[in-house]
């Protein structure tokens, strides 16, 4: 992991007052290695043309580049290639599923009054509001797993919450606030026992650990490219072939059709059905390069590196008086995202002082407002780690927090 930093030009950027950048905000978006930028540029300068539509050589090469990107990304998550759909983001992927589940054309997958959707209190807004809206459209009801005070899913009422009326369980793999890695096995087992599908928000897991859709046993999975070393403007929606088959598309236009008259249209099969229009070709190629970059390092090495950083960080932060970790305060089932509060200093002010030293953290509700209410805070400061982070950066974080306490005279 030592040499990876050279692949990320931005990491040598000089920040305010000559400070070096310590980027601890990969949970929001990751930085990109030069290999990803080069892959995108190569697409534009060597094979840019609209895919799937032309018989000329450039169009052939563009299609080849785009479809091999799909293949690479599918293999990376253990999926079939035709089950792997390019969207613009994880947000779009989750909304796409919710729209399908509200369309009567999706047959038995379409929700109706009396049906239930289950989420959790730690969901990102992107895996909460689409379901609220789906319930509003269909008359289904929304229920959720509460969160324990150490930031775990409270599954004590699993069988009551996921009951026979449940059609969808939509849950995050790893919390973008707490770092908690959720125990999927019990949830998947119960959901399938009652005939519900499981939608996994894997935004915070796919970039950081080995994820295999078949092994997890889920039915749908979404993640964003930009959090996984890839370009902005791309996400992945994966779904089981037999479910994608049943589902109505939600974006309509070119390339997703089988035939069209003025009054009617029929659809191509997946993945095409869910990719209306000229797709985000360069971004797909860029994300494939990102995936190759991670595979070359090995997801297990990446995960190990991040766990080492996290353990070091927990130790360092726990030594600071007045600091409270929001989320699991141990290494058990957690990833490299740590949220905390500092007594007497608002997260915004903590972030500002850290920024002065080039330390980039996130502050606020992290698009998980209900979770903030659960913990009775208006926001937290969050540090999140990735493969390019170092122990020294974490020491700088701890030091920075102490400086903030000195500055605001709270310690």
């Amino acid at each position: 992991m030592e040499r990876v930093r050279e692949d990320f030009p931005i990491l040598s950027k000089v920040m305010r007052q000559g400070a070096s950048l310590k980027y601890l905000d990969s949970g929001a978006t990751s930085q990109k290695p030069i290999q990803v930028l080069d892959a995108e540029r190569r697409f534009y300068t060597e094979s840019n043309a609209a895919v799937h539509r032309g018989s000329h050589l450039l169009a052939e090469q563009a299609s080849e580049a785009f479809e091999s990107a799909r293949q690479i990304i599918a293999s990376f998550i253990g999926a079939e290639v035709d089950e792997t759909i390019f969207t613009k983001s994880a947000t779009e992927a989750l909304n796409a599923i919710a729209y399908s589940f509200g369309n009567p054309g999706s047959g038995r997958l379409c929700l109706k009054p009396g049906d239930k959707v289950v989420v959790s209190e730690m969901e990102h807004h992107a895996n909460l509001i689409p379901w609220q809206q789906l319930c509003k459209r269909t008359g289904a009801t929304l229920a959720w797993f509460p969160i324990t005070k150490d930031g775990r899913l409270d599954l004590s009422n699993l069988d009551e919450i996921v009951d026979a009326s449940t059609k969808v369980v939509a849950i995050t793999h790893q919390s973008n606030v707490l770092g908690t890695i959720n125990p999927l096995e019990a949830i998947v087992e119960r959901a399938h026992a009652v005939g519900a599908v499981v939608v996994l928000d894997a935004c915070q897991s796919v970039p950081h650990m080995s994820v295999d859709v078949k092994q997890l046993g889920v039915d749908f999975l979404a993640f964003s490219g930009h959090k996984a070393l890839g370009p902005t403007g791309i996400g992945i929606l994966w779904g089981r072939a037999e479910l994608l088959d049943l589902m109505e598309p939600y974006l309509f236009g070119g390339s997703m059709i089988e035939s069209v008259t003025m009054e009617n249209a029929t659809w191509a099969s997946a993945p095409r059905k869910f990719e209306a229009g000229v797709p985000n070709m360069a971004q797909a190629v860029g994300l494939a390069a990102a995936v190759n970059y991670m595979s070359d390092l090995g997801m297990d090495s990446i995960h190990k590196h991040e766990l080492a950083l996290t353990e070091h960080a927990l130790n360092a932060l726990n030594e600071i008086s007045g600091l409270t970790i929001i989320g699991p305060n141990s290494m058990e089932s957690r990833g490299g995202t740590i949220s905390f509060t500092i007594e007497g200093i608002h997260p915004h002010d903590v972030g500002q002082v850290l920024d002065q030293d080039g330390i980039a953290v996130r502050t606020g509700h992290h698009c998980a407002w209900p979770l903030m209410r659960r913990f009775g805070v208006s926001g937290t400061t969050r540090a999140s780690f990735y493969l390019y982070n170092t122990i020294a950066e974490i020491d700088a974080l701890a030091e920075g927090i102490k400086n903030a306490q000195k500055f605001f005279k709270v310690n």
Partner: protein, 150 residues
């Protein structure tokens, strides 16, 4: 020149004078296939008799490759036991997927080996397969019906 290797004389002949084109009055089944990326279409009538392909007739619009390929296909499968026809189809599909690395088994594919060059042009492979996929679909549907009847 690559163009001649793609458009061999055999292909141009079949294109100008397609065989089995024009739908039979009766059929066990009629299928309709389109190539959504270009709008080409084929309608195909199939008659099976005693486990063999008694007749394949078709109509439709398409490029030289799709027309010639449908013509060659119908020549090839007519009169063959269904099993054997399906093996020919397999062999042709494999040739089309070969990206120019195979030249095709002339024993099995006869005139269809002239389409080997198409496999170098990914965008044209679908044209060459249009008629074959319609035929396959027709066979599957007839067999399905028989299973249901049992």
């Amino acid at each position: 020149m690559e163009l001649e290797s793609l458009y061999q004389e055999v292909i141009l002949d079949h294109y100008k004078n397609p065989h089995h084109k024009g739908l039979s009055a009766e059929s066990d089944i009629q299928v309709h296939h389109v190539n959504p990326s270009c709008g080409d279409e084929i309608t195909l009538n199939l008659v099976l008799r005693d486990g063999g392909v008694q007749s394949v007739t078709w109509n439709g619009v398409g490029c030289s490759i799709s027309q010639a390929s449908s013509s060659i296909m119908s020549e090839l499968v007519t009169g063959k036991p269904v099993d054997e026809a399906m093996r020919v189809l397999e062999s042709f599909s494999e040739l089309m997927a070969s990206k120019g690395s195979q030249s095709g088994d002339e024993e099995v594919l006869e005139d269809a080996v002239a389409l080997a060059g198409v496999s170098k042009f990914p965008a044209r492979v679908k044209c060459a397969l249009l008629g074959w996929m319609a035929f396959k679909d027709a066979v599957v549907q007839v067999n399905g019906r028989e299973e249901d009847a049992r």
